[in-house]
């Protein structure tokens, strides 16, 4: 979509590690079963403190839809592409399965889908977004960790959240300019 820049803002303090986002994503996007097959994930942070004063955080993640995409750069056949709205896609018929994009991604956001015969990854549920619906992970989250929206719209919820709260991205030193923002 033109004139849009999609992003997700995450408030990880709300995450309860229920993994509903992963299940919803698998169901929505026909992700095959298997250890390696997932488009999004929830990382468990190390335990904090000592018993009985313990705490633990969880960091959900998925393809960061980077502004500077190593995966797009390395793909030999241009199977990976970037839409005008920033969503990074894979054109299945062009994927040769060299897995160069998988080694190039600093977030391990890609896997090889044996059913489609191509590398697969999160697309912010582009098929839903282009129909005006929310990505499955955003819609299903019981504690509203993720907020999806258009950063080109200064009044969108994502723009307002980023304006109001300090935030960070993962591995900023990679220079990938991710569009998944984590509220600090």
């Amino acid at each position: 979509m033109k004139n849009k820049r999609f992003a997700i803002v995450l408030d990880t303090r709300r995450c309860i590690d229920c993994k509903a986002c992963t299940v919803a994503c698998k169901a929505e996007n026909n992700v095959p079963v298997g250890r390696d097959n997932y488009r999004n994930w929830v990382s468990e942070e190390p335990l904090r403190g000592t018993f009985p004063n313990l705490g633990q955080g969880f960091t959900p993640g998925q393809c960061m839809q980077c502004g500077n995409t190593p995966c797009n750069r390395v793909c030999p056949t241009r199977a990976t592409g970037v839409n005008a709205d920033g969503i990074v896609t894979v054109e299945e018929k062009k994927c040769i399965g060299c897995k160069y994009c998988m080694t190039a991604c600093p977030y391990n956001a890609r896997y090889y889908n044996t059913e489609t015969g191509a590398v697969d990854k999160c697309t912010f549920c582009a098929h839903r977004v282009y129909e005006g619906r929310l990505p499955a992970c955003v819609e299903t989250c019981p504690t509203k960790v993720r907020v999806f929206g258009d950063l080109n719209d200064p009044n969108s919820e994502v723009s307002l959240l980023l304006a109001r709260h300090p935030h960070r991205v993962l591995k900023p030193e990679m220079g990938t300019k991710p569009f998944l923002f984590y509220l600090s």
Binding site: G34, R35, D36, N37, W41, S43, E44, G61, P70, R73, V74, C75, P76, T77, R78, A79, K93, K94, C95, I96, G97, C98, K99, Y100, M102, T103, A104, C105, P106, Y107, N108, R110, Y111, Y112, T114, G117, M174, G175
Partner: protein
Amino acid sequence: MTTLTALANSFGSVATIARRPREIAYFSILGLGVLAGLAAVVYTLVVGHEHAYNVTREIPWGILISTYVFFVVSSTGLCLVSSLGDVWGFEKFEIIGRRGHLLAILTLVTGFMTIAMELNHPIRMGLYAVISPNFTSAIWWMGCLYGIYLVLLSIEFTSLMEGWRRAAYISGLLGFIAAVSAHSNLGAVFGLLEARHFWYGPYMPIYFILSALVSGGALTPLIVYFNHKVRGRELSLKYREFMEVIGKLQALFLRILMFFTTWKFITGIYGQPPEKYEATMALLAGPLAVNFWFFEVLLGMVIPFLILINKRTRTVFGVAMAGLSSLVGIFFMRYDLVIAGQLVPMRENLGEAGHGLLHYVPSSVEITIVVGALCLCLLLYSLAEKIFDLEGGHRHR
């Protein structure tokens, strides 16, 4: 015409093998290796990569990629070293021109076959690399440059066989340039990945060219030695001189390689740079330590270097054995390089408890394909020795 005549006589030549029991055994073992490899290929095509290979989402490149690198490094090394005679005018190297270029072709082709088994869609690659090329992709350039390199190698070999002087020189020179371009670009396939700290940087393209020279310096004396050994011939003065010179040259290549390796490892551990440190330690004291210290350092560098710097051990046999030792070490060197670069997980909690690294051990199917590829390369070369007249190389000026 010489080539065509040789090909026409090939069946007769191959038929003579049957008269020698040791040759029957040799060709049978290679044949069995190739058949085992083929069976593994068929098995993979039937059950799918995911059931046949141990590569994962986190470590997508396994032993087939490192073996591909081993083969193409060998090819480049053979081309660079054997061009010394025909292109750069070092007369002592002319005698290995034909054999060197032939084996360069065969190792390259076997390398292509090996990587085709790692790719999920090699046929699709042929189509979309042409109609949808991405010029910022080092893998696209790799395919393109190695393709050009293969064509030039074939022209060079044909020219050497046919005695086309001018064509041999021009294709040899262009082949040399293509070899350096293609191979440094292969280093860039790894060196351009910012996400992989162990690989990233200008070191890889430079290191790949250097290590190719070591591969060439290991393989060319092996070819000479075993060709004479198998035929029960004594080495002529020319060949003995060649072995002496290549022995000294290989000692120099190994010295430079040790220098490079030392600094790679010092920068890998000094100040514990994130991710690079963990990968380096995986080699020094982690899951790849035996590979590194025993195969890569001891067999690959130290033993051959000690053989080659000592005048008493730098005999024809010594130079050949140093080559063999290096070659085994280099195989593990490629494996260690490819795997170590992927052992550090991109997300912290993906690593195994304890050392925090990922885990990869090649599956039996992957290993069988590798064995099959090695046997195939050796078999093709041995048959080519029967088919072509590879004696001598000629200065085409």
